[in-house]
Structure formats: C-alpha cells, structure tokens
C-alpha cells in the first residue's frame, strides 16, 4: 500500500487528513514542520507527499525546493496544501515541481484522497519511487 507523508503544522489538519487517508487504507505518517518533514522524506521514502505552504522553521516552498534538489527524492510527487489566497504561491510551487496545488478549505477530505489516488495511478504507470 502506498505511503503518504503529510507535512503540516496545524494539528487539526494533520489529524483530519490522517483519518481521511486511513479510512481509505493508506499508510500515513506526519511531520510538524519543514525540517522534520525533510528528514522523514529521507528516512521513510513515502510514495507521495502532502506539503503545507505556511509552516514554522522552514516553509513549504523552501522544503519543496530542497526535496526536488535531492536526486534521491526529487521523483516523489508533491501536492501543496494551503489556505492562502493568491495564485503566486501556486505558480511558484508548480514551477518548483509540485504536481498539484490544493486549497484546503475548498475541498472535502475525500476529494483530496480521490485526487491523490488519481495522481498515484498516473505515477504507477511510470513506476512510483519508494515501493
């Protein structure tokens, strides 16, 4: 089963998405900030990463950049999560290599899960890293 890594500082959101993916049978791990997140990416090698933009210590965009800079990790698909308005961050993220950009408040958790499924199925054809 695919491993999901959720890098999100707000515990409410952490728990919500954790449950959502758990209901669907995915293995989920969480990180509370960008630094911890990067470590866990390296150590756990998840199938897909959900990355929040606004975080302490190291924000999502910088973390994304670091992930994509690492040859081992850059193949992992990253979905950016945010509640911020403005598409400037979205474009930046997509340019840096994020696969998708989701506004948390706009989507029901199950919709997010569906999106992840879609992406994974797409990637599975091309060989998903970490599995």
């Amino acid at each position: 089963m695919a491993k999901i890594l959720i890098i999100e500082d707000d515990p409410l959101m952490q728990r919500m998405y954790q449950k959502a993916f758990a209901f669907d049978g995915y293995e989920v791990s969480v990180a509370g900030d960008g630094v911890e997140g990067l470590e866990k990416v390296r150590s756990e090698k998840p199938t897909i990463i959900l990355l929040d933009v606004m975080m302490p210590k190291q924000n999502g965009l910088d973390t994304l950049a670091k992930i994509k800079a690492d040859p081992d990790l850059k193949g992992t698909p990253v979905i950016m999560l945010t509640n911020l308005a403005g598409s400037a961050d979205a474009e930046k993220a997509l340019k840096l290599g994020a696969v998708k950009y989701i506004i948390k408040s706009e989507q029901e958790p199950k919709q997010v899960v569906a999106m992840v499924k879609e992406i994974l199925s797409g990637y599975t054809r091309d060989a998903v890293p970490g599995k």
């Binding site: 919500m16 209901f23 308005a85």
Partner: protein, 671 residues
C-alpha cells in the same frame, strides 16, 4: 507791355537836347557877337564921324558958334546919309547939359538923355540902342575934351535901317543854316541810334515781351557783334532753357494734376462718407437724449436695488467664507488662468505650512512629482471633467486630490468660470482601510483552517461512520455542523475575495476560452452536486461560429456559479436557461430564470455590497448568502475586462442576467 517812356525818345532827348541847347546857345552867342560886331562897326563909324567933327571944329570958341557947328553937322549928314542924329550937347542954364546944336529941329535947349549925362560925368563913351526894327538906331555919346577938360558931349545916332535888313538876313541865313544842320545831324543821330541801339533794343524788348508772354520758343534775331548781340544770345539761351524746363514742368504738372485728381476723388468720397456719418450721428444724438431721460430714471431705481443686493451679497459671502472654513478638506478656488483666488485654513494645516497666500506653484512644490497640478487644471478646463487622485503620499500622510471645473450654470455647462481643487487628508481613513483589509486577509486565512477542520471532520464522520450513527437526530446534527461550516467557509471566502478585489490584489489569468464548453462543465458540476434537482438547468443549443472569449477561466466559473446559484435561490418552479451568443466584438452569456424577479425600485441595489434586493434591512434571507455574490462577480468581470448586468427582470416572471467578455484576439473560432 508798353514802355512808359520810350527809350528812343529819351535817348534822342538826351542826345539832341544838348545839341539843341548848344546850337541855341551858339546861335545866341553868335547873334550877340554879330550884333556887337555891328555895333563895333557902327561905333567906329560914329567915332570917325565925331573925329571928323571934332577936327572940323578947331577951337573952343567954335564950340560956342552955332552956325559953324550947324554947318559942320550938315556937311557930315550930307556925307553920311545914315546919320539920323548928330548933336552937340553943352551945359546950359544951371550947368545942366542941354542940346546946343542938333540936326533935329526943335531939340535945342532940351535937356539931354541920361547917356549923355553919363558920358559927360564919367568922361567915357556910352553907347546905346534905341528903337526897334527899322527904327532902330545906334546912339553914341562921347565927351568933348578941350585942353584936358570935358566941356560937353558929342551924340551920334546911326540908323540901322539899311544894315538892319542885311543883319536880319545874315542872321536868318545863319539861323537857317544852323537849323538845317541841326536837323540833318538830328536825323542822322536818330537814324544811327535807332539802327544801332533802339531797334536791337526794341527787338530784345519784343523778345523779352514774347518770352514774358509765354512764347518761349521765340528767338531774338540779332546778330550784331556787340554787347546787344551777346544779350540777344543770352536771352535766346535763357528762353530755350526756360522752354525746356517749362516742358519738363508741364509734364510734372500733368502728372501731379492727375495724382491730385485722384486724391480729390478720394477726398470727395470721404467727404460723402463723413456727411452720411454726420447725419447718422445727429440721429443718434437725438435718440440719445431721449434715452438719457429714461436712463436717469432707471438709474435711480437700480441704485436702490444695488444697495439691497450688495447687502444680500455681503451676507452670502460671509456665509460662504464661513462654510468653506468648515470643510474638512483643503479648499482651493482658482480662476480660469489657474491663479489662486481663495483658500481655506485647512490647506495650510494639511500641507503643514502656514502661508498668507498660496499659489499653484507653491502647492505643486510641496506635493512634488506625485501629480502635475498645472496639467490637471488645464485638462479640467478643456475637457470639463473631474480629475482625481485617490491616493498620494505626502511625508507620513496620505492625501487625496480632486480637481473640477466650476460653472455658473450647472445645467448648461459651457464655459467654466474657474476650477475647484480639494485636498483631503486620508491618512486615518487609509490606515483604517488598510487595517480593515489586512484584517480580512488575516482573519480569512486564520478562520479557514479551523473551518476546514470542522467541515472535513463532519463530512468524514457522515461518510465513514454511517453504521455507528444510528440516531437520526445525531445524523441530522452532524449534517448541520457540516452545512454550517461550509456556509461559513463560503462567507469567509466572499470576504476574502472582496478585500482582495477592492485592494486590486486579485490577479486574472486571461486566456482564450470556449464559452460553450465552460458553461457545460459548470452545469455538470451543479448536476453532480445534485442540488435542487426539481428545477431544470440547461444550456440553449449553441449557434455556430461564436468566437473565443478572453477571460480568467477559474474566476469566470465562479461568476457563472454565482449567477446560477442566485437563480436557484430565487426560483421555486420552472428552471434556469443559459445561452451563449456573439454580439459585435463580445461573447455574451445570458442566464435566465423563471423565479421571483426583482422589483424595479430595488434593481438599483444589485451589484452593491451586502445588498439583497429586499425592501428593508431586516427583510433579509440570511440563508441566501451575505449579499456579496453579485458585488464580487461584478468586480471580477470588470477585472477581466468584461461586463455584468441585469438585462431584464419582472416581479413574478423571472430575471435575466448577462455577462460579456471581449473576443480573444486570436483568430481561432470556437464554440
């Protein structure tokens, strides 16, 4: 011209007169000399006679003897027939000289004439002439001397009778001769003078006269070699020169005359004009007098009115000045040349400097390069519209600026009478605005996270714990929690969008869009969410050849969702129809419903913030949203370069809203 005195006459007079006088004098002199000669001859004859007598007498005693004496006298008379008188005078009685013996009888004893007395007394010869013409005689008295003593006189009288004739003849011959000579000489002189002098002079005179009379071509024919000839030449030359200059003058005169004629004509014309204006003026003056009377009456009544009005105006002005001081903004009143007429104190307060008199240049200096006041003023005057700067930074403050032309007639705005400039200190308002905007952004963002948690969790419970929740009420409550959170998220999204749109922070990604496809996909979403299924929602069949619209895809979707959502909210039965059309250079989408419609009075409230087209603040359907939907749609459509409007609406029948976007410049045609 005739000479008063003829030169010839004068000359002749001058020449001949002396000659005449000379001749006359000569005549007289010769006459006298001849006479003298005669007299001399007679005297010598008389003397010889006396000598004879004297010698004949011999002695003094003979002198006393009358007979001897008489004899001697007779002898002499016989010898000289021309002796008219012969007499011996001796002193007689009283020693007076008397005639002793004479040839004339009866003369004895007579006292003798004076000449005898004279001869006797003075002891000398005295002669005289007596009588005239043929009776003329020469009388001579000679003193008788005896032994040195004068004792008496001899008296001899010789008649000129004979010789007189000869004398006269001689004289006549002489006179005649002289006269003749004179005549001849005169004639000669006359002729010569005439020829040499007079005639040439006459010719010169004639010439001069002719020239004087104007015959400048007249040439004096005088070819004598002397001074007169020279004069003639000079005259001819002069007259020739004169003639030439006269000709020249004549020409000039003709020219000048024609010039003058023209000028005269002009003057005539002007004179006529003057005459006309003069008569017009006279008329005017008459009218004026009448008017003056009326005018002075009017003047009085006007003066009274003026006093009233002045008072009114002063009150108005005081009111006006007081009111402009009360305005919160800086008030600057300019004339049409851009010169400052009036300012209020607030100007100094806002700009942070007290000045007695402000000018546009001074204000411009203070505001710096933010705005070109002169250009703004000129633009206002020319175009007659408002110029505004809603935000300018001024040190630590923020200012706004309004420049507008002002008109005397608010309806017929033709020529501005000035320009009004207002500067406001909006620092507080801006801070307020900013904090409000920031509040919205931050609040929205902060609100979303917990709301997402509520929504997500509620939904997951409903989805995944269906079995565990058997209680219907619990299910309902969870459902309400979910619905509440969704609504709240929508509200927060609305506020966030409004603040972003108003701050201009929303970006629009414009791309060519096939409207027909977009509408279809939106409709599908509504159908997927399964809301309000009892109402129909469909798109009218698309016409061919509709171009691609230029717009932001996501935002456009939002607008369509808003419009359709509104339509559903206000429709009980029937449905909603969408239609895509091309009109000129725009793509239009019509959203028509068969709902409640909107009353005309309330249609003006649409597209404004927080407005629901309801009649009172409390008559709100809070379940139908915040009332920001149309406002946001409007800002978004306009941000994309399109439009949104209410096409028509009738209470009870339904409404039709419309949006339009410009055709994308690329030539592709889509549906």
């Amino acid at each position: 011209m005739e000479a008063k005195h003829s030169l010839a006459v004068r000359v002749l007079r001058v020449v001949l007169l002396p000659i005449m006088v000379g001749a006359l004098v000569l005549l007289l002199v010769s006459f006298f000399m001849m006479r003298r000669a005669f007299e001399r001859s007679y005297q010598s004859r008389a003397e010889s006679i006396v000598k004879t007598l004297d010698s004949a007498i011999g002695s003094t005693s003979d002198l006393q003897n009358k007979e001897i004496l008489t004899q001697q006298i007779l002898k002499l008379i016989y010898a000289n027939p021309d002796i008219e008188l012969i007499q011996i005078n001796l002193p007689g009685k009283g020693e007076k000289l008397q005639t002793f013996v004479s040839n004339e009888a009866g003369r004895e004893g007579q006292v003798v004439e004076d000449y005898n007395q004279q001869a006797w007394k003075e002891h000398k010869l005295v002669s005289t002439n007596l009588g005239v013409g043929t009776q003329a005689r020469y009388i001579m008295a000679l003193p008788i001397e005896v032994s040195g003593k004068v004792v008496g006189t001899y008296e001899i009288g010789l008649s000129y009778k004979e010789s007189y004739r000869a004398f006269i003849l001689q004289v006549l011959y002489f006179v005649g001769g002289t006269v003749l000579t004179l005549l001849v000489v005169s004639l000669a002189i006359s002729y010569l003078t005439r020829r040499i002098v007079i005639t040439p002079i006459r010719q010169l005179v004639l010439g001069a006269q002719k020239i004087g009379e104007g015959e400048l071509t007249y040439q004096v024919e005088l070819k004598t070699g002397d001074e007169l000839g020279v004069l003639a030449q000079a005259m001819n030359l002069a007259s020739q020169k004169l003639h030439e200059s006269y000709l020249g003058l004549e020409q000039k005169i003709t020219e000048r005359t024609s010039e003058l004629k023209e000028k005269l004509n002009l003057i005539e014309q002007q004179k006529n004009n003057l005459e006309k204006s003069k008569s017009a003026m006279i008329n005017l003056l008459e009218d004026e007098k009448e008017l003056e009377k009326e005018l002075s009456q009017e003047k009085e009544s006007v003066e009274i009115k003026v006093k009233e009005r002045t008072r009114e105006l002063q009150t108005e002005r005081a009111r006006f000045l007081a009111s402009i001081e009360g305005i919160v903004r800086a008030y600057i009143l300019l004339d049409t040349r851009g010169k400052v007429i009036l300012t209020n104190r607030r100007l100094g307060e806002i700009l942070g400097e007290e000045k007695g008199e402000w000018s546009i240049s001074l204000i411009q200096e203070k505001l710096g390069g933010e705005v070109d006041l002169h250009a703004a003023i000129q633009g206002c005057l020319k175009r007659g519209d408002l110029f505004e700067r809603k935000e300018m930074s001024y040190g630590a403050k923020f200012l706004d600026l309004y420049v507008t032309p002002i008109y005397l007639d608010q309806v017929d705005k033709r020529d501005p009478m000035g320009v009004l400039m207002l500067i406001g200190d909006i620092t507080e308002a801006k801070i307020l605005q900013r904090s409000r905007d920031e509040f919205f952004s931050i609040a929205s963002h902060e609100l979303r996270t917990p709301l997402t948690a509520i929504r997500g969790n509620a939904e997951m419970i409903l989805d995944n714990y269906q079995a565990k929740i058997q209680d219907q009420e619990v299910k309902e409550m969870l459902g309400d929690i979910h619905e509440g959170s969704v609504r709240l998220i929508e509200i927060v999204n609305d506020f966030l969008n409004v603040s972003r749109l108003e701050m201009g922070k929303m970006e629009f990604k414009l791309e060519p869009i096939k409207m027909g496809e977009l509408v279809e996909s939106v409709i599908k979403e509504f159908q997927v969410t399964g809301s309000r299924q009892k109402l129909s929602l469909e798109q009218a069949p698309l016409k061919a050849g509709i171009g691609m619209a230029l717009g932001d895809r996501d935002r456009l979707k939002q607008v369509l969702i808003n419009l359709i959502g509104n339509a559903f909210k206000f429709t009980q039965e029937g449905g909603i129809k969408l239609e895509v059309e091309q009109q000129a250079k725009e793509v239009v989408v019509w959203v028509s419903d068969t709902g409640e419609g909107i009353a005309k009075a309330l249609q003006g409230l649409l597209f404004h913030k927080f407005q629901q087209a309801g009649s009172s603040l409390y008559t709100r359907d809070t379940s139908k949203g915040t009332g920001l939907g149309l406002y946001i749609s409007k800002l978004m459509m306009e941000g994309m370069g399109g439009k949104i409007w209410l096409e028509k609406s009738e209470a009870g029948k339904g409404s039709t809203f419309a949006i339009s976007l410009p055709i994308s410049k690329s030539e592709e045609k889509g549906v």
